[in-house]
Amino acid sequence: MSTPLLRVRDLTVAAHGDPIVRGISFDVEDGQCLGIVGESGSGKSLTVLSATGLLEAPGLTIGGSSVLTDTTGATEIIGASRATLRGVHGPRVGFVFQDPGTSLNPLLDLERQLTEGPETHLGMTRRAARRHALELLEAVGIPDPEQRLRAFPHQLSGGQRQRVMIAIALACSPSLLVADEPTTALDVTTQAQILDLVRGMQDERGMAVVWISHDLGVVGQVADDVTVLLDGTAVEQRPVQEIFASPRADYTRTLLAARPTLGDPRPAPAADAEPVLRVADLDVSFAVRTRTGTRRIRAVRNVGFTVPRGHTLGIVGESGSGKSTIANVLTGQVRADAGTVRLHDADLLATRGADRRDLRRRVAMVFQDPFAALNPRATVERSVSEPLRVHGLATGPERTRRVADLLGQVELPADFAARYPHELSGGQRQRVCIARALACEPDVLILDESTASLDVSIQARVVDLLLRLQEELGLTYVFIAHDLAVVEQISHEVLVMRRGETVEQGPARAVLSDPSHPYTRELLAAIPPAEPRVRSSAP
């Protein structure tokens, strides 16, 4: 076999002397896709970014070797000068990052951002670069590229922005594309489109791709070979088919088992449970200021549902579908224009004063991002006991005891009470958030994408915890998510939303196994299947 495009040997990264990446070797062949899988903190981004010379930070020491060999020649990346790296980044290696919202410069139009690379690296004239940019936009599937060239990033949707990022990465026709969790911040349907796009571009241009992800399902859809990382060490490095069919490392098996897949809906609970939460004819709109004056956007239109005690309603939809707005109405953060929300027999929207405070206590919420939902300057004890303090429910030693109880309920040791959020992992933080939500013994728990930002294996454990808590405490859940596979695991009923309206609604089993609306079918089809994709053009 010829020299691989990127040959990495014994790569190590250490921060202030602490090893983070402990000697990783891999090859990326021409035209091939290498998937790198691991949980957050496993060193997957550090590995790839240091191997491609993008990593530079005080206190970081990088060792080993990484040689890039393409038509330009062979270049050792580790320890290369900045001038050398400037010649590598762009024309030889292109990058796509996780958050398309912050990876584009908000003050420059697309033309400027797309022509920058070709003008510097390929010596194109302004006009040629513009023509090139048009071709690129068309290639990544941006409609009406001529118009879009003058657009600014904020005028694009998340998926379009990620397409533009890919176009920028491909602008100088690199031989290697590094994609660092490029679909994690996107909806499932958009994710499926981006996966298709990158596969298409790869086949068309014969370039190599390194795809970093925490989601083995996504990697299964793009990669030829997979490297599984755990604590900075490669635990398994094999072709994707073999990894899925016969994983050798225990950790790989855990990862595969933790993946939520469609097909095992929850058994329906007793049907005669009393309704706890009843929402009817809910309408919510926001005033949006535009150049032509104030316009009202209807975020939620005529939505209604009933959730009995001990049941879970899953609300599914893409970003902008209005599902989070419903959560905000239920927790009193947003005022509804019309409709009723009843908790048992009390009207949640009409009640005022002390009764309202009392009602608020019975609806608690767990947020998406456990890193941001906890005050970084407050101890776990302080955060978990906050609802108790605010509502004057427990004081002194009783409060301390309650906090210990709550931590026990979410399976955290009691001595975690003295810790600060930065001393906890993502899963532990989300457990603390759940403990805080449980502090006032609520009837209803609103889970707004509460598992979306967690790694798959941790997500599975948090889902298990939620299921157990529901059974023990008889909680009623409203579970808002875009990942249908997780929704199926936890929901008894499902409500599918699109652009503020209910598209489909009914028992989880019926909606997910026999969807009647095309949009629901589209959402289901976008979930990465349990099996890896068979590549016809495998070398």
Binding site: Q333, R357, R361, M365, P376, E386, Y420
Partner: protein
């Protein structure tokens, strides 16, 4: 993840003193405070006793830091002045801190009309040159040390208001603030427990800077005869009295200047250290570094 056990996490104060630079700042400040408190009993001469026969003596065995144009002992005057200068700095900056952070918190948290009104007021105050505004305030209140303190406090309020507002604006959008509000928490609780601790970093930096500037502002006001009244000494007053004698008696300006310099430096060193150790995440990192070395 760091495996710091809660019980072994060092306290903020211990970490502050473990840092050599902050420790130096703390020691200097302690010395200055000590001088201010017990100095009057220790200093060799009465700071206001004139001895024209011994005017403009160079530093020597009898007068360690020399004498001024009226034969007053420079060392005794510096020690006596430390009390005035420290009081001005601490009290006036406290006024500015409380007023400014209050305004900034309110404006940044409430936004809308309250923000517009409060911040336009702050802008108006900002538009005046610092000294001019202080002069106007002293003119209204009448000259004297207390007027000077109030004037300096008011003059530095807008800076604190801006710093506090800017940080508040970003902190109030954090999900943990929203999370707290969904529990039915009152705004006062949110401000006190969630916003205030998280804006403390920039505010502390601003405080240490302002303490230094307050000493200088007092010097300027005293020079104009609006602050400390003669013959009571302050570092600033001494500097300005010395200006006519720079050529003949360098010690008259160098030593009070050095006192201002060292104290300002100490305030900044301590401020920097405080900002670090009050952040729990930095505290863990510092503890880990300390444990290794």
């Amino acid at each position: 993840m760091t495996s710091t056990r809660p019980s072994t996490r060092p306290s903020a104060l211990r970490l502050l003193l473990r840092n050599r630079v902050s420790l130096l700042g703390c020691l200097i400040l302690a010395a200055v405070v000590l001088a201010a408190v017990v100095g009057p009993w220790l200093s060799p001469y009465d700071p206001n006793a004139t001895d024209v026969g011994n005017a403009l003596r160079a530093p020597g065995a009898e007068h360690w830091l020399g004498t001024d144009q009226l034969g007053r002992d420079v060392l005794s005057r510096i020690v006596a002045a430390s009390q005035v200068s420290l009081r001005v700095a601490v009290v006036s900056v406290s006024i500015a801190l409380v007023l400014g952070v209050g305004i900034g918190l309110l404006a940044g948290y409430a936004r809308g009309a309250a923000d517009a009104v409060l911040m336009r007021l702050v802008d108006v105050m900002f538009a005046f040159p610092v000294l001019l505004l202080a002069l106007a305030i002293v003119a209204v209140l009448g000259p004297g040390l207390n007027s000077a303190i109030i004037a300096i406090g008011v003059v530095y309020t807008p800076i604190f208001a801006r710093v506090a507002r800017a940080s508040t604006l970003s902190v109030r959008e954090e999900p943990f603030v929203k999370a707290s509000l969904t529990m039915g928490t009152g705004h006062a609780y949110v401000l006190r427990h969630h916003v205030l601790p998280n804006i403390s970093g920039p505010v502390i930096v601003q405080t240490s800077l302002s303490l230094a500037f307050a000493i200088l502002s007092e010097a300027a006001l005293s020079f104009l005869g609006l602050g400390v009244q003669p013959p009571q000494p302050s570092w600033g007053r001494m500097l300005f009295e010395a200006q006519g004698f720079v050529g003949q008696a360098w010690w008259m300006s160098v030593f009070p200047g050095a006192a201002i310099f060292v104290t300002t430096l100490a305030f900044n060193l301590v401020g920097d250290g405080l900002r670090e150790v009050l952040d729990p995440a930095r505290r863990t990192a510092l503890a880990a570094q300390g444990g290794r070395s």
